[in-house]
Every structure is written in structure tokens, then in C-alpha cells.
């Protein structure tokens, strides 16, 4: 059959015009009596939508209060309690600062420590790394003050690790004669921080650093070891007339100091070898460092 013929056939087909009145009437009756909504659904939806938006706004407000406004308010309240305590006032007068605060349930914890890293707090001939203050927020009072003594000695493992880093570092090998021996290893007080462990709070040093003393005959060197990053940060000659600091480049420093020309490689800061002019004793370590930086630039 041709397409035109088929279209004509479709257009001219005699179509049944049938209607079943009984079905029409019954369906209408059913729809209106049993299915027509008694209350307009759109209105219900609008009402529900308004209520839903209002509830959502309230929930957001409550969450914001709980997570942002209330903690800030609690911290402010806690700070006021801590600063009002006469013992804390004494610590602050000695140059300490309120470093950190944390709230766990009804208790607040504040860390008071020296403003400068590595410094110690001296209270009645006692040297402290910091003070942990516990605040009872319900009773609005300081409930406990814990003195944190500086950790001078390292445990065996840490000591071994410090020695290993101190020996294997390439800059140390370059700067200190290999015959030099490590005579002493001790901890360097580091900046403290509050660590929350479940419902408890712990004071822990931010970094783990140690001082290593190298000795060869009468000569002494001091190396500052960063145990966490496993590197030697600084080497210092302890001989009185040759005292100088050699600050070793950190990872970031190394990137910055990367020489742009091959000649600049010679500018790597090291202790001068034999025959080279030594720094004058009057020049302090900062001046030397500045010189090295200038050369690198």
C-alpha cells in the first residue's frame, strides 16, 4: 500500500462514537462521593510547607546556638572564671598567657603556659612548662590546678632515635668530625597543647625536640633534633672562642634556597673548613645567618 493511500485510509476511517452513559454516571458519582478530597491538598501542602520551613528554621537556629553561639558563650564565661582566680593571676603576672581552652560537658580546661616557646615558668623556685586549669562550669569556680613539669629526659626509645638522627644527618657529617661522640641527650621544652581523648583532657607537647651534645677532645657541638620530623634543625659550636650557630635549612627553606645557578651551590651554610677564614667571636650567630642568607640571595 502506498503511503498516501494509507494516510487517506487512516483519515477517512469510520470511527466508533460510543458512549456508555451508565459508566459515565457511576464513575462521576464514585469520584465525587468517594475520591474528591474533603480538604484541598494544595492548601494542606502549603500549610505543611509553611510549618516545615518554620520547623527547619528553628532547627537551624538551635543547631547554630548549640554549635556556635553556646560554645563561644561558655568559653567567654570560662575565661572570666579562670582570669579571676588569684593563683592564675600570679602565673599571668609572671609572663604566662592563657593559651588554649576546651569544654567537655560541665568541665572546662584551660592551658596556661609561657608566652615564648622553650621558656619555662618560674613559680617559687619551681620551673614549670605550664599549668592545666580545670573549671567547674556548673559551680562557676576553678576546681583544680595541675602543674606541668618540663620533660627534661627522654625515654630510652626517644633517646636512641635522637642519637640515630644526630649521627645519620648529612649536614652533621659535613659539619662535625666523624670521631666526635654523643655525650648527652636531653629534651627541649616545646609548646604545649590540649588534647581531648574521649571525656578526658591531656596536655601534650606540640613537637618533640631534643638537644644532642657531640664531643671530641675539648671541642663540643650542640645539635637540635626534631624527633617528630626526624631531622637536625640546628648545629651550634659550644667552644667559647669559636661559638657560632649553623641553622640547617628546613624542608621549606631548602626549596627556597634551591640555587638557580650551579655556582650558588657553594653557598650552602656549613662550618668553615681548615684554612678558610673563621668568623670573628664578636659576630653572633644571627649575623652569620644573615651573611649566609645574603650570599644565597
Amino acid at each position: 500500500m502506498k503511503k498516501e493511500d494509507l494516510i487517506k485510509k487512516l483519515e477517512r476511517a469510520s470511527l466508533p462514537e460510543i458512549e456508555i452513559t451508565s459508566h459515565r454516571e457511576r464513575l462521576k458519582k464514585d469520584l465525587l462521593e468517594n475520591y474528591f478530597p474533603t480538604k484541598n491538598k494544595w492548601e494542606t501542602f502549603l500549610m505543611f510547607r509553611k510549618a516545615a520551613f518554620a520547623s527547619l528554621a528553628v532547627i537551624i537556629l538551635l543547631l547554630a546556638s548549640f554549635y556556635f553561639i553556646y560554645p563561644q558563650y561558655t568559653l567567654a564565661k570560662m575565661e572570666k572564671i579562670v582570669l579571676a582566680d588569684p593563683q592564675i593571676k600570679e602565673f599571668l603576672e609572671k609572663g604566662s598567657i592563657l593559651k588554649e581552652m576546651k569544654v567537655i560537658g560541665n568541665k572546662g580546661y584551660a592551658l596556661i603556659s609561657p608566652a615564648q616557646e622553650g621558656e619555662l615558668l618560674e613559680i617559687k623556685q619551681e620551673k614549670l612548662a605550664g599549668v592545666l586549669v580545670e573549671v567547674n562550669l556548673k559551680e562557676k569556680r576553678v576546681s583544680r590546678i595541675e602543674r606541668i613539669t618540663p620533660q627534661i629526659f627522654l625515654d630510652e626509645k626517644e633517646e636512641e632515635k635522637a642519637k640515630e638522627i644526630a649521627k645519620e644527618n648529612p649536614e652533621v657529617k659535613k659539619s662535625i668530625p666523624k670521631e666526635a661522640e654523643i655525650s648527652e641527650v636531653r629534651s627541649i621544652p616545646s609548646e604545649l597543647e590540649l588534647i581531648q581523648k574521649g571525656e578526658e583532657i591531656e596536655v601534650s607537647p606540640k613537637e618533640k625536640k631534643a638537644t644532642v651534645i657531640y664531643k671530641l677532645n675539648e671541642k663540643k657541638w650542640e645539635g637540635r633534633i626534631n624527633l617528630k620530623e626526624e631531622k637536625v634543625e640546628e648545629i651550634e659550636i659550644l667552644d667559647e672562642d669559636e661559638k657560632e650557630n649553623i641553622k640547617l635549612p628546613t624542608t621549606t627553606d631548602q626549596e627556597e634556597l634551591k640555587p638557580s645557578t650551579p655556582e650558588m651551590k657553594t653557598a650552602t651554610p656549613t662550618i668553615p673548613s681548615k684554612g678558610e677564614p673563621m668568623m670573628q667571636p664578636s659576630e653572633n650567630s644571627d649575623v652569620l645567618l644573615k651573611k649566609v642568607e645574603m650570599e644565597l640571595k
Binding site: 469510520s14 451508565s22 459508566h23
Partner: protein, 181 residues
């Protein structure tokens, strides 16, 4: 009834049963006629019509006069119900089984007379039998274009497709149907 009056009536029908009755009376014949032509079975046509109007009533509150007329919206529901019937061969809930026949009516006699009337249209029934062999999409465009005399634009509204798509769909459907003769 012009477009604006119908628009108002549809809005009113969301709350007012009287307004819904007017719309129902206006479109029942068209919808039933379309479904009957598609399925060529009186009982199935009644059931699908019932489903179509029930769904329309339930979804009326969501209807917005946006790019599609109320008539096209009803045809769309009907087309979907027919497609559902063919795809799933789903069991339709016949409203006739729910409600009692209206007093002073003779539904059985009416159906018998309607069946006789349907059988008189032999040419149509042959065409219907051939068209029913086509895929559903092809069936839809042919029925809407030739038996419901809908414009391409209206068919696009009902099937949710662009006019160009409808034209090419129609062209391919006619070609497929031609191969069956």
C-alpha cells in the same frame, strides 16, 4: 469555553466538586473515546477511563497551566494508563465493581448495544488490529493524529516531545504501519 474560563474552572475544581463535574462532563467522552479506540475493548476501556479520571482527580492539585492545556494533561494521563496496561498487563481496579449501578439504568444492555455498535466499524477494527502491532510510541502518534484529529503541537504537549520529534515519529510510524499492509 475559552482558555481563560477553563483555566479558572480548573482552579475552582481543585476545591469545588461542582466545577470538577463540569470538567468531567466536558472531557469524559473524548477520553473514553480515545481509550476505546486504542484498546478496542469496552470493558478495558471503561476500566482505563476510570483509572484516568481517578488519577486526574488525585493529581489535580498539582496541575498548573504551564505550557500544557488541561485537555492535553488528561490525554497524557490516559496515554500513560494505556501504556501501563500494555506494559504490565496490570489489574485495573474497576470502579464499576465498587459502586452500585445507578437506578433505572441497564448497564448490561448498554454494553451489549455498545459492543454491537463497535463491531459495525470493521474497517476501523482492521486498522486498530494492525496499529496495535506497532510499538506503543508509534501507536500513540497515529491515534492522536488520525483518530483524535490532534494537531502536531497538541501531540507534542501530550507526549512531552518537540514538534519536530513528533513529525519524524509520525513519519516512521506510518512507514512501519505501511509495511504491515
Amino acid at each position: 469555553m475559552d482558555k481563560e474560563s477553563e483555566k479558572e474552572l480548573v482552579e475552582k475544581a481543585k476545591k469545588d466538586p461542582e466545577a470538577f463535574s463540569i470538567l468531567y462532563e466536558k472531557y469524559y467522552s473524548q477520553i473514553f473515546g480515545y481509550i476505546l479506540k486504542r484498546v478496542a475493548d469496552l470493558e478495558i476501556a471503561q476500566d482505563i477511563t476510570s483509572e484516568t479520571f481517578l488519577k486526574a482527580l488525585k493529581k489535580l492539585w498539582t496541575f498548573k497551566w504551564r505550557g500544557i492545556s488541561f485537555s492535553s494533561w488528561l490525554f497524557k494521563i490516559a496515554s500513560n494508563e494505556i501504556a501501563n496496561f500494555y506494559r504490565k498487563k496490570k489489574k485495573l481496579v474497576s470502579l464499576e465493581k465498587i459502586s452500585e449501578p445507578v437506578a433505572n439504568s441497564d448497564p448490561l444492555g448498554e454494553i451489549m448495544r455498545a459492543q454491537e455498535e463497535l463491531e459495525k466499524h470493521k474497517d476501523f477494527l482492521i486498522l486498530q488490529e494492525k496499529i496495535s502491532q506497532l510499538p506503543l510510541k508509534d501507536q500513540e502518534v497515529i491515534y492522536l493524529r488520525f483518530f483524535e484529529k490532534k494537531k502536531i503541537k497538541e501531540i507534542g504537549e501530550i507526549l512531552g516531545k518537540r514538534e519536530g520529534t513528533i513529525k519524524s515519529l509520525l513519519h516512521r510510524a506510518i512507514e512501519k504501519l505501511r509495511e504491515l499492509f
